[in-house]
């Protein structure tokens, strides 16, 4: 899932400087699970900003609301009856949600409340690690389910590099060397031949931004409509 991290309070404070009526819109999916922008976190952020505002003698009202997701239009519609009364909206969704909200309510000032970190997994309570880079050309079959694009800082397809150190990465001694992991895994499952082959250079054109993807089924339906 997408893992996010709430922005530092000073940064958010700086963004809402001068605004009097602010709405914080939370998202109940990925960022709620990664404890950055769900209903609870929106409550904490709103309370913090209210208290800080009062202490500093600022005149401002901070309201809170959380929708199921901000990346689907249906859920953003719900905000229509509220949004007009506010000077600014802080969205604690991931970057995609913030943009969608800003697009839907395009005459409002929409501000990001979190930093979107990565696509990751929960290693334990409150600890997430990045696992996927959305490279649009998954090669996990050739690396035993360990992603060299993500786990290797140099995204080597023919690793390891000379900086590998006792199974750890030279960039961060706490992190494992992706290619040592891949070697050990492929050895364990008897597929070393896959990494003995030279991997050709990555096709980065698959990752051209901004990406757009239409599901096969919906391509057909569109054609039907046009005919």
């Amino acid at each position: 899932m997408i893992v996010g991290e709430r922005k530092p309070l000073e940064q958010i404070e700086a963004m809402i400087e001068g605004f009097e009526k602010i709405l914080i819109v939370g998202c109940g999916t990925c960022v709620a699970v990664s404890m950055a922008g769900g209903e609870k976190e929106v409550g904490e952020l709103a309370a913090s900003l209210r208290m800080k505002g009062k202490l500093e003698g600022k005149q401002r009202t901070i309201d809170e609301i959380t929708v199921t997701r901000q990346c689907d239009k249906e859920y953003l519609e719900q905000l229509a009856k509220y949004v007009d009364q506010y000077d600014a909206v802080i969205s604690t969704a991931c970057g995609a949600g913030v943009q969608f909200l800003a697009e839907r309510y395009d005459d409002k000032i929409v501000l990001p409340g979190i930093n979107t970190r990565f696509i990751g997994v929960a290693e334990g309570a409150g600890v997430w690690t990045q696992r996927c880079m959305a490279c649009s050309d998954c090669l996990l079959d050739r690396t035993g389910g360990i992603c060299p694009m993500t786990i290797c800082p140099k995204n080597l397809l023919n690793g390891p590099c000379g900086g590998t150190n006792g199974g750890k990465c030279e960039v961060d001694g706490e992190k494992d060397c992706a290619w040592t992991l891949i070697y050990n895994k492929m050895k364990k499952i008897g597929r070393l031949d896959y990494i003995r082959k030279i991997q050709p250079p990555k096709d980065y054109s698959a990752m051209t931004k901004p990406g757009k993807y239409t599901h096969e089924a919906f391509k057909e339906a569109r054609k039907e409509e046009e005919e």
Binding site: S48, R50, D63, E64, V67, Q78, L79, E224, E225
Partner: protein
């Protein structure tokens, strides 16, 4: 504010006490007829593991001068790790208080075993004294000022039908909306 004025205000102290240890200690303090500051308002919760940051922040937002969370001793939590979670939550909230501009000393976590009646009284006095020394919560004066709140519990309620852009979907949507309006008018 002058020293005298500081001494003159009566602090409001909230104590979130867990059922199995801290609150039981409170009961014991009562049976032992121990005297302690009457400023402490005890809130009985099942386990301190229930404490979320927002409960603590709200207490301060509503004007509490000091808040403490009292739970079982390490290893004795009736729900195994509730007190560990509470300790983490309190530590995190202290950092938030510092960011907000309130003295983190206003918030604390204490271990109060069930048999520790005197300790219960001691902590109550301790936090009240601390609140007195730190002075009234600067937000006290502004408690009445409205500054916003939650808009709606569940805004998703009844989702509008998606704007259909393909043949089949339009027919499906029409059928559903027709059925919905039938049941509304019919029922």
């Amino acid at each position: 504010m002058s020293e005298d004025a500081h001494q003159q205000f009566e602090p409001k102290v909230i104590a979130y006490c867990c059922t199995y240890c801290a609150y039981t200690a409170g009961d014991l303090a009562g049976s032992m007829r121990l005297e302690y500051a009457s400023n402490v308002r005890v809130v009985k919760i099942l386990c301190t593991g229930k404490i979320d940051t927002i409960l603590l922040l709200r207490a301060f937002e509503e004007g509490a001068d000091a808040v403490y969370v009292a739970g079982c001793a390490l290893g004795d939590c009736h729900f195994l790790e509730g007190n560990l979670r509470a300790i983490q939550t309190v530590a995190h909230t202290k950092k938030l208080l510092a960011e907000i501009g309130l003295d983190p000393g206003r918030l604390e976590f204490f271990h109060i075993p069930a048999s520790a009646g005197p300790l219960f009284a001691q902590r109550a006095d301790e936090m009240t004294a601390r609140a007195r020394q730190l002075g009234p919560n600067p937000l006290r004066a502004k408690v009445g000022q409205p500054a916003g709140g939650k808009l709606a519990r569940d805004p998703d309620g009844h989702l509008p039908l998606p704007e259909a852009t393909h043949g089949r979907l339009i027919r499906q949507a029409e059928r559903i909306s027709a059925a919905a309006s039938d049941s509304e008018t019919g029922a």
